[in-house]
Amino acid sequence: MPFESEAQRVLDTATRLGAEYADVRFGQTRDEHIEVRNGVVASLSDGESAGFSVRALCSGAWGFASSAKVDDAELDRVAGLAVTIARASAKIKSQPITLVPSPAHVGSYKTPFEVDPATVSLGDRVALLLAAEKEVRAAKGVTVARAWMDIWRTKKYFANSEGAKIDQELLQCGSAIHALAVGESDVQDRCFPGTGGLYQTGGYEIIRKADLLGQARRIGEEAVALLTAAQCPSDTADIVLSGDQVSLQIHESIGHALELDRVLGWEANFSGTSFATLDKLGTFRYGSEKVNVVIDMTCPLALATHGYDDEGVKATPVDLIRDGVLVGYMAGRDTANTAKVALSGCVRAEYWGRLPMIRIGNVNLEPGSVPAENIFDDIKNGIYMESNRSWSIDDKRLNFQFGCQIGYEIKDGKRGKLLKNPTYAGMTPTFWRSCDAIGDAASWVAWGTPNCGKGEPLQTARSCQGASPARFRNIQVGVGYER
């Protein structure tokens, strides 16, 4: 395995200096981004970064250090600095950190894919985006049309002082089109697929199946039509959310709420804590009996799928909500003991230089039984909302307000007139308990979120919340536009 000897040197140094446990990650990332804007390539970038990091546990406290340079002197310096930081932190620790046992895996993982993006010329990739963007702009009234794609490759090697040695190669791809229409007193936008694109693990086939070109004209026309559409009423209504909007709802009101480090107060100053406290585990009714949520880092196509996490834990599906009841958390080796929950392999760092932490992985809402074409059934007066425009939730993940890009009236089970600025708000448990229909497996998509923020210093992570469209009863809508 690459870096095996360098990793051993780091681990030997850290343990010789007194670390009770140490791990090391060598990483290399390559990020390609193309964006076209109104007929011009606005961004064509190809970035790479490489380096290593060391995490050391001394006297029950963590220390972490990283560097872009890999030579013997730097390996020793960084290993020593991680130990020094840990020793400093140990002077004011509260409870000593203890790690739950995890097998010392020796293995490898590689993202399965059909089409290696490297086999598609840069010229062909640019041409696809230009064609799709041109078609968005063909809708009369579009002010700014954009199309973009991302290809992210990550190679990493993990080893720890317990004997783990893991080599991984991850491939993630995504793409989108976007239309902005500017009116005299209004700005409307539409994106496709979903809120900000379709991002998944896999190869260039992810970008091809997004059908940017096929949907471009519609997206442009919808953005323009929204400028003159009726305002979403401010009322209480039954609503149906598109699968990509349900995905974000899961992310904000289930995913973050069930990160065990948040529950324990480790994120208190920044992204907050959680209303889903440990005393609720096993008994708390989080949602209706139709709501089943699992973290599954093995899920095919899902954006966070890998073989092992950044502390060497093998990806394993773990229930979070079963029949509407809270039954699990996302946990790491240093937190799992507090809740006696299973490890799912969800501890990740943004890149080689950052501290691994519990991140929303693939937090999937299991599909229900309702065919998508029947999900408006039983709604006499309601609103359908699609694709997120704004999202906000309090720092315990209770009070939320979301806005969507586009809405439609639902009248007697049928889609009615176009509505602009649809928003809805509520409290997390009340909202999920009002869910009475979830779309079937045919309408389920592994929606990726490429920009989840957490931690100090801030780290961005790529997560997935697989979801189908879903129906919710008696929801406050039109929030923010009442006056």
Partner: protein, 447 residues
């Protein structure tokens, strides 16, 4: 580079020169950002996540005709530099012509350095020094049966740019920060400090402020949604200004018509007591004297006594819209256009203590959270309060309140506001507290 050379001006400039000579492009720009950043994060009065990261990233922008490609790497040996220059060039060749691209900017006169931007002691701060600051905070907390969560950070940065038209820039700086969230059984309080010098952070004084808020807001009561007179402390007000920068103070949104400034230059858009400018050189701030194209930053008056004055420009939009380049480019590639990074709000004439005394019935907001744009043109945002929400009755903070959600137009709010007299730094902006009449809270939460 050797360890000794990390962030050394001569070593970084050698990397840039090598990138320029390696490039086959018609024009080339090389930008390097080196950082040695440490952060000690704490909760429950104890350090739980403490890190150091050292990295040096080179970015090359290649121009072929009017085609542009960008590539980046942190492999800074000769082969790595040559390879990144090649990748940028190959990308540029496959890009499209941008007829509006004016070429890379040449050298500009008028750069004014920031005195005291680099502090040797901050660059050399140790894990023990940061942990001691946490210990000082924890000691204050224990006196009130509280615990604290937050971070203490120190960092040293170097930033250098060179291009094939003769631009050569280098800037070195330090920065430090402390965040303190004081936590009780049913309340919390917050204080923050930012300084280029670690010695300037004042952790004890800030801890006492955060603890006082946590104690005073114990047993919070619910507030009915509605319109209230509010005082936003600087940490809360800062997030409003950050949104204005993003959605409206740059030439790109101005040109495409989505900015609240579009079509309104010269018009009074907010109260005549409000003056906003971008000024990298404010003595309380943390700005750098040139932008990511190496162009000297200018102080730009954005709103002057309530009148929309100007937005900020980079070389692309300056040429396209026939305006002076104000030196506000972001790193290439940049799909957001130029943006102000160092907003300064002119202070008002009333001390915040007096401002509170002047409120008969209102609310004081210490900090906001998760602000998101609801309506761009109307500058309508939503967000939550956190870490110290207080009822003001007859000029005094009388009760802690459970947190509230707000839906408010930023421009609308600035049309009915009064600014406090004390300026502080919050993140990269310099601003006072602000009193806003008729601020709209739409719902509450359980804590």
């Amino acid at each position: 580079m050797s360890d000794k050379d990390f962030a050394d001006q001569q070593a970084l400039q050698q990397v840039l020169e090598r990138a320029l000579t390696a490039s086959q492009a018609d024009e080339t720009e090389a930008l390097i950002a080196a950082s040695d950043a440490s952060l000690t994060r704490y909760t429950h009065n104890a350090a739980h996540e403490s890190v150091n990261e050292r990295n040096c990233q080179l970015s090359v922008r290649a121009v072929v005709g009017k085609r542009i490609g960008v590539a980046g790497t942190n492999r800074l040996d000769d082969a790595g530099i040559v390879e990144v220059a090649r990748r940028a060039y190959e990308s540029a060749k496959l890009s499209t012509e941008d007829a509006d691209f004016p070429g890379l900017p040449g050298p500009h006169e008028g750069l004014v350095e920031v005195p005291g931007a680099y502090d040797e002691a901050t660059a050399a701060a140790t894990p023990d020094m940061r942990v001691q600051a946490v210990a000082d905070v924890a000691k204050v907390m224990r006196l009130s049966n509280l615990y604290a969560a937050g971070y203490v950070s120190t960092q040293s940065d170097a930033f250098a740019i060179a291009n094939s038209k003769g631009v050569r820039r280098f800037h070195r700086s330090t920065d430090s920060a402390i965040n303190i969230k004081a936590i009780g059984s049913d309340s919390s309080g917050y204080a923050e400090g930012f300084s280029r010098r670690f010695a300037g952070l004042e952790p004890v004084k800030l801890a006492e402020r955060a603890a006082k808020k946590a104690v005073a807001s114990r047993t919070p009561r619910a507030l009915e949604p509605g319109a209230y007179t509010v005082i936003l402390e600087p940490a809360a007000f800062r997030e409003f200004l950050g949104y204005l920068s993003w959605i409206g103070f740059g030439a790109q949104s101005f040109e495409q018509g989505s900015s609240f400034m579009s079509g309104h230059l010269g018009e009074k858009i907010i109260g005549d007591n409000v003056t906003l400018r971008d000024d990298y050189a404010h003595p309380l701030g943390c700005g750098i004297p040139f932008d990511f194209e190496g162009v000297p930053r200018k102080a730009v008056s954005l709103i002057e006594r309530g009148v929309a004055k100007d937005v900020v420009y980079d070389s692309y939009y300056a040429a396209k819209l026939h305006h002076v380049n104000t030196g506000h480019a972001l790193p290439a590639p940049n799909s957001d256009g130029p943006m102000p990074l160092n907003i300064v709000v002119d202070p008002g004439g009333t001390a915040v203590e007096q401002m509170i005394k002047d409120v008969t019935h209102g609310v004081l907001v210490t900090r906001t959270w998760y602000i998101r744009l609801v309506d761009q043109k109307q500058t309508m945002i939503t967000g939550m309060t956190r870490d110290g929400l207080f009822l003001i009755e007859r000029g005094k903070l009388t009760k802690g309140l459970k947190n509230m959600r707000f839906n408010e137009s930023i421009i609308g709010a600035l049309g009915r506001c009064e600014l406090a007299s004390q300026l502080v730094r919050s993140e990269s902006h310099v601003l006072p507290a602000v009193k806003i009449e008729g601020f709209h809270f739409s719902s509450g939460t359980e804590f």
